[in-house]
Amino acid sequence: MATSRKVTLLSSDGESFEVEQSVAVESITIKDSIEEGSAGNPIPVPKVNSKILAKVIEYCKKHVESAKAEDRVDDEDLVAWDADFVKVDQATLFDLIRAANFLNIKSLLDLTCQTVADMIKGKTPEEKRKTFTIRNDFTPEEEEEVRRENQWAFE
């Protein structure tokens, strides 16, 4: 198997990234299009801009390298690396979720979704709204109804 085959990915804003095929196929979306022979050259990645694509590639590279490593002690290091990787501003985090979902990279989707879930935990509804700039679109009556329905959560 030719391990040093390279592919070129093209971000939505026209930037090219040359990567090892083994890294690119961390994305099932890309893997499928290569296998089906429908991938162009370069492979266009719509909806993902260069900033995010660069980060996604960084993630995939790290994970492919770690999987190859002889030294299994790297597991803890990888977890720490992942934790650092998601220390980004909220907008970027959501961009990464969308990219991971579109590109179908399960481990990255898991990591980013879990990060957001951890941000939601332990906050009152109002704090949750503030954290994510969510608009409270309940009418006062609806709000009272939901509060009553979920009374059990507050005991």
Binding site: G14, R98, A117, K123, F132, T133, F138, W152, A153, F154
Partner: protein, 389 residues
């Protein structure tokens, strides 16, 4: 075009107005994020906005959330001196010494008078719904979601021995049996409408006060024959496939039992999604795990030398003979440790590697009167009793 503008005005992209990121995600991804929250957090999450409330309220979300949830054992202690009207309580053992809040039995307005006349038994658990039966004065049953505190009580003929989700169609079903002169007649059915369906007549029934071990759409019980007679070793475990509504009878792991009473000391237990059998033989606890159902392949997990390992503990001072270990129960397994119940003495953690034991104080005071426990695997969920229809 967009590219040119952001090159000319780089500050534009840096000062992107903060917006609700969730609105940019597809529903199934928002569901992925929310399904990672604990059940009590979901109660708060429903109050955030309409779309979260709507998403969390769907049956699909409940299933996704359930799949992520890890199960914990729920324990119903049986006291030697149980009285009518004794609701008893359930608790979830926390592996550290602190006790979790005991759950009181449900209060059901329509049946309040009746329920005070009963002694309730834990029959099992499915998807976060607990099912109880009352021994006297007649057969009534209760299903409860202890998280949302929804409950339903109803009267029914026959003995319910199983409660499961039938995948096609996605409905919760009950399995019950009735004794007839020719054997035990089994039926499956729902709550409303009941629509009972005959699934076979067999010479065996599940042992009393033992919950089924349910894994991968199959329920398992140790069985006995009429009048509690022991079954042959080859037919000691009854398996019910919820997908096919079919029974089969399988042999227990290990050697055939020497006397006809041999496998009465053998028990099934479900721990962390797998089925185990444990048996007390002489002063050992032997434990097997079902590795592969299709080939009915059991693997011996370990042998615990109860006499040697429990000898150091003050609780064993009162041990006079092998029979003092006979009623020991295996409850849970976690991180290389087992949680055991020793009748009249309490709960213990057994470390498989160091073979040491630690007593777990669960804030209960009446161990001396606790003869055994009934255990079921429980997952906190938002499953609504409306889904029982």
């Amino acid at each position: 075009m967009h590219m040119e503008i952001s090159r000319c005005f780089p500050w534009l992209s840096r000062h992107r107005r903060k917006q609700d990121g969730f609105k940019t995600l597809p529903d199934d991804v928002v569901m992925d994020v929310l399904s990672r929250l604990e059940v009590d957090q979901l109660g708060h999450a429903k109050r955030v906005c309409r779309s979260w409330r709507a998403l969390i309220g769907t049956a699909h979300f409940t299933r996704v959330h359930l799949q992520r949830a890890s199960s914990v054992p729920v324990i119903s202690p049986m006291f030697f001196d149980r009285k009518v009207g004794d609701r008893g309580f359930l608790f979830f053992p926390n592996w550290s010494s602190q006790v979790k809040k005991p759950i009181r039995g449900a209060k059901s307005p329509g049946f309040r008078y009746i329920t005070t006349m009963c002694i309730w038994d834990l029959l099992g658990c499915c998807d976060g719904l607990l099912i109880f039966s009352a021994i006297l004065p007649f057969s009534i049953y209760e299903i409860q979601n202890p998280v949302t505190q929804e409950e339903i009580v109803w009267e029914q003929d026959g003995s319910i021995c199983g409660f499961f989700l039938q995948s096609l169609p996605n409905k919760y079903r009950l399995l019950s049996y009735r004794e007839t002169p020719n054997g035990f007649l089994y039926h499956t059915g729902g709550l409303w409408p009941a629509a009972w369906k005959n699934v076979g007549m067999f010479p065996y029934r599940p042992r009393e006060q033992e919950t089924p071990s349910g894994v991968e759409g199959r329920l398992h019980w140790m069985v006995v024959g009429k009048e509690g007679m022991s079954t042959p070793c080859s037919h000691s475990i009854m398996v019910f496939s919820t997908r096919e509504s079919k029974f089969c009878f399988m042999p227990h792991p290990g050697d055939s039992c020497p006397s006809s009473d041999g496998h009465s000391n053998m028990h099934l237990v479900e721990m962390k999604g797998r089925v185990y059998v444990y048996a007390i033989r002489d002063k050992l606890m032997l434990i097997w795990v079902l590795e592969d159902y299709a080939s009915w392949h059991w693997v011996k997990k370990c042998d615990i030398d109860l006499e040697r390992d429990f000898n150091q503990h003050p609780a064993s001072e009162s041990v006079t003979s092998y029979s003092d270990y006979k009623g020991m129960q295996l409850i849970d397994s976690q991180d290389g440790e087992l949680l055991l119940f020793w009748p009249h003495r309490g709960f213990f953690r057994y470390n498989l590697r160091s073979r040491t034991i630690t007593q777990v104080m669960l804030g209960l005071s009446r161990y001396g009167m606790m003869s055994r426990v009934v255990v079921a695997e429980f997952k906190s969920s938002l499953v609504s009793l409306k889904d029982l229809q």
